[in-house]
């Protein structure tokens, strides 16, 4: 066993040093490429946000702009304007979530701390964000509740529901949607965050493991 331990590291280092040259030379970037990359990435800090979030925000903005423009052009009256107001409010809420994500991404500076401190910091930030997202998700059903009566009135005015049965089905569907929003949103948020948090906690646990059992044991410092 000892023979294995003594012999292998030297051989491992030899292989590693050979691979080092191969891996580095294959991926090598010249200074112009690095310089170009810095300019492109420092030009916009929005790149810190995920592409999906930006795409969602963009699509939502286009839909709302069209809706607003349609209402103004067709002058649908105050009820439609109220509906748009609610939708705009939801959009503002979405932007607030994005802004928080942006702030969190910028808050975590990975260059100032060692791995253990970084993982601890990151775990706390993610847990805090999870709690915040759960709290703000309460606003979702409120937004629906504000928008639904107006929406129903508009649909009745334009005779979307042909009879009372259709209206009852729509009302049931809406009730289910409102009731399910909070638990479903929380489930999605938990699924999104629980794995990374667990992953970080596992890493932290692994970092601390032998240290707890070996505290104060003399002669354990062995320099290579």
């Amino acid at each position: 066993m000892n023979e294995v331990k003594d012999m292998v590291p030297d051989k491992l280092k030899t292989i590693w040093q050979n691979s080092d040259r191969a891996v580095s030379s294959r991926n090598r970037l010249d200074e112009t490429a690095i310089s170009h990359w810095i300019k492109r990435n420092s030009a916009t800090s929005l790149s810190n946000l995920s592409r999906d979030s930006l795409l969602e925000a963009g699509l939502l903005l286009i839909v709302l702009a069209h809706l607003d423009a349609g209402i103004v052009l067709r002058s649908g009256g105050w009820k439609l304007l109220l509906l748009t107001g609610v939708l705009n409010l939801l959009f503002a809420f979405f932007i607030a979530v994005l802004f928080r994500q942006f702030r969190i991404t910028n808050r975590i500076k990975l260059g100032d701390r060692n791995l253990r401190e970084t993982l601890t910091d990151l775990t706390e930030v993610l847990k805090g964000n999870l709690v915040w997202l759960k709290r703000v998700s309460l606003f979702g059903p409120v937004g629906f509740l504000c928008g639904v009566p107006v929406c129903f009135k508009v649909m009745l005015d334009v005779d979307v529901f042909m009879d009372g049965k259709g209206l009852a089905i729509a009302a049931c569907f809406t009730a289910v949607l409102i009731a399910a929003y909070y638990p479903v949103h929380n489930l999605i948020v938990r699924l999104q965050y629980s794995n990374p948090i667990k992953d970080l906690e596992d890493c932290l646990k692994e970092l601390q493991e032998p240290e707890r059992g070996r505290e104060g044991r003399p002669g354990s410092d062995r320099q290579n």
Binding site: V4, V8, I15, I38, N41, G111, Q208, R222, Q223, N224
Partner: protein, 167 residues
């Protein structure tokens, strides 16, 4: 220092130490696209942290710290990988974007890829001739803890790869 000089200095620094970034990416990501994304993320973090780098530690130690912090806190889903105990088992695993590397190197990378995120960081620093004190500084654990973990990792790698080194 103005931004232009800072950028020039940073570019030169990255150019000299980009091997560290590539090695970290190679160890933590199995696909070339993931490697590219992680390398960009590491460079972005280095660029953001560079103005506050005061030179208290060696530049390579700082680059390692940022690169490992970034790679380990990356939230990309990584499939759980079963523990490999023999070289034969290791040879059976299909290579992932390792074209161009010789068999020994590919097997070493495969064996390292089976370690946990923390173990990967420690063995990477060890193989790159970092002292226990430097490893302890980058990881944030005591030297004795580094020593304990290294013995365990070397033993695991050694048992798996030993037939490769036998004449």
């Amino acid at each position: 220092m103005n931004t232009r000089n800072l950028e020039k200095e940073f570019v030169s620094l990255i150019s000299q130490h980009q091997g560290i970034i590539h090695k970290v990416c190679h160890i933590y990501c199995s696909h070339s696209e993931d490697r590219k994304d992680t390398a960009q993320e590491i460079m972005m973090q280095l660029w953001r942290a560079y103005p506050s780098f005061r030179g208290e530690s060696k530049i390579s130690t700082w680059v390692y710290r940022v690169a490992l912090n970034t790679a380990i806190s990356n939230f990309r889903k990584i499939k759980a990988r079963p523990l490999i105990k023999t070289l034969a088992e290791l040879r059976e695993i299909p290579s992932e974007d390792d074209g161009g590397l010789d068999e020994e190197t590919t097997l070493l990378y495969k064996a390292i890829s089976r370690l946990s995120k923390i173990e990967k960081a420690i063995i990477l620093l060890y193989l790159d001739e970092k002292s226990y004190a430097e490893i302890a500084e980058i990881i944030g654990i005591s030297k004795s803890n580094v020593s304990v973990k290294l013995v365990r990792i070397k033993s695991r790698l050694g048992n798996t790869l030993k037939p490769l080194f036998d004449p």
